[in-house]
Amino acid sequence: MGDNILEVEALKAYYQMSYFGVNREVRAVDGITMNVKRREVYGIAGESSSGKTSFIKVLAAAIRPPLRVIAGSATYDFGGKPTDVTVATPAEIDAIRWRHLSYIMQGSMSTLNPVRRIGRIFEDFAARPLGLSGSAFRQRVVEHLGHLKLPPSVLNAYPHELSGGMRQRVTIGLATVGKPDFIIADEPTTALDVVVQKDVLSLIKNLQTEMGSSIVFVTHDMSVHANIADRIGIIYAGRLVEEAPTRALFTAPKHPYSAHLVASLPRIGDTTQRPALEGRPPSLAAPPAGCRFHPRCPLAIDKCKTEAPPLLAVGPDHRSACWRAADVEPLVPGHGRVGVTA
């Protein structure tokens, strides 16, 4: 695996449900291939319900019904024997959990047991992986909280007694106190106000640099990605549609959806009309044939309606899944439409 700490191969993970006779299959992750390098921050962006969390769940080995891995693999290399979480036994997963791989779940409000003090939650989560107990453990936690700019007194607090930002930092603390090699963070800053958000992001970044971990970071807020990610993958309707180094993605997106995402970011000091993406997000239960973006795509051609474009390299470290990748241009603010060079 070499340079890569994680390699995902043609991963398909579906929600398979049978609800009063209606058999539903939500193809939340539908053939994703990607990898994460050591010490890399990999950002994943995409619309709501596009399958970001589902993908992340597989990576975090949090696969439980109705989510099932249909095909593919997700293999970690933490130095020893590589672990493919899609087939690993519970014991194998337990062995890497929190020591090597930790997860910051979406929604900091609900991830902490409301009737347990933060200190106890730290013990529950980290005492075992750290192999510490008593005052040594406590000291370690307090020290770690210091990095997160949290006073030791939070250990005596109940979750509801903390503000949203503090709670989010506690969650980050829980995931990072064991200095894991790989951190998966699902929208850790959504619902925080801008001041706090920036603060939290910088903490994550600092920890990452310090510990040398890799991070997979999910959010649909492109400005967050712009500032934290080394590389960004754009997911649309369960598929990776573009993957590029951050700078490249923002300056030269090669997929119309990415271009739109980048372009729709308003900026202070700029009041030009911003476009809105028309149409509805596709249903993952019955995704459109061909390219899943084609019903909303300004560049769509007939081929897009029938043939799904493969994810192909379009530049260094840059892949895009668009038949017309070459025609995608960064949207110039003021045009109101995705630019087409035809």
Binding site: E47, G164, D193, Q197, I228, R247, V262, L265, G269
Partner: protein, 303 residues
């Protein structure tokens, strides 16, 4: 200039803390502003979370009584004991909700809300009149009754839902909408659609909007005037662009500095503005003795 809405020295105190000790929270402290009746505008309220934005909105909607000061809508207090008066007021000031998925009962059809609104506020009785009113409002937001009738919330996209919610608010032709973080829960691709719609409402239908957000970028994008709040107090207010281009109060500056920009994508500009934070906190600790001062460009700043 006659005022559509006049918020004068409004304050709100809450008894905070549970049964184990309590303290008083000044959620809103001496806020004053006015919206003119003849000049529709988007009036933005910005601030950190917990700064009293929602409380202020609730007071304007007459859901909460101010502890001090008064709020007048067309010269009359907004709080009505009388049901009929209350209804009349609600026909004029309507809210737009934060989360389009939450604003509709998932077990009920979405058009119920439209029907009920038309029946109650317009006094429309016969089906045709009700449907005409519904369709009219939906047209304003780029939808039509045919698309919406009989649908459950889960059959509509978030953007559609939010537009239906706005359409519903428009049925009684209110001169004022209160939109409390209408885009914070929707993803980036929807955000612009909603924001653009608010803009269109102002420009095409003359509706004033009080737009509450902590997203400075969209505020800059659509608003005419804004106020910036911190811990219940207005720290800076005035023409939106002027203030945001060049914030004067340390907290306003901190806010602006904290906005992540895609401009330097990949550079990882995450250094917290510690210095500004320090300033802002210093100011906050001296806030009790502060007041708003007028500036030449029309803004007012707390000093």
């Amino acid at each position: 200039m006659s005022a559509l809405l006049e918020v004068a020295d409004v304050g709100k105190r809450f008894q905070m803390g549970g049964i184990l000790g309590r303290q008083e929270v000044r959620a809103v402290d001496e806020v004053s502003f006015a919206i003119a009746a003849d000049k529709p505008e988007i009036f933005t309220i910005i601030g950190e979370s917990g700064s009293g934005k929602t409380t202020l909105a609730r007071m304007i909607l007459g859901l909460e009584r101010p502890s001090s000061g008064r709020i007048l809508f067309r010269g009359e207090p907004v709080h009505h004991e009388n049901k009929a008066d209350r209804l009349k007021f609600m026909a004029n000031v309507q809210p737009v909700f934060q989360n389009p998925f939450e604003a509709f009962n998932p077990l009920k059809r979405v058009d119920r809300y439209l029907q009920s609104t038309a029946r109650r506020y317009l006094g429309a009785r016969d089906k045709a009149a009700i449907e005409a009113a519904m369709d009219g409002a939906l047209q304003k937001v780029g939808l039509s009754l045919a698309e919406i009738a009989g649908r459950f919330p889960h059959e509509l996209s978030g953007g559609q839902l939010q537009r239906v919610a706005i359409a519903r608010a428009l049925i009684p032709n209110p001169p004022l909408l209160i939109a409390d973080e209408p885009v914070s829960m929707v993803d980036a691709s929807l955000r612009m659609a909603i924001v653009n719609l608010l803009k269109a409402l102002r420009d095409d239908f003359g509706v004033s909007v009080i737009y509450i957000t902590h997203d400075l970028a969209t505020a800059y994008y659509i608003s005419d005037r804004l106020i910036i709040m911190q811990k219940g107090r207005v720290v800076e207010m005035g023409p939106a662009r002027a203030v945001l281009d060049n914030p004067e109060h340390p907290y306003s500056q901190l806010l602006k500095a904290s906005v992540l920009s895609a401009d330097d994508a990949g550079a990882g500009n995450l250094k917290p503005a510690n210095e500004l934070l320090q300033f802002s906190n210093d100011r906050l600790s001296r806030a009790d003795a502060s007041r708003l001062e007028e500036r030449a460009d029309g803004r007012r700043v707390r000093v």
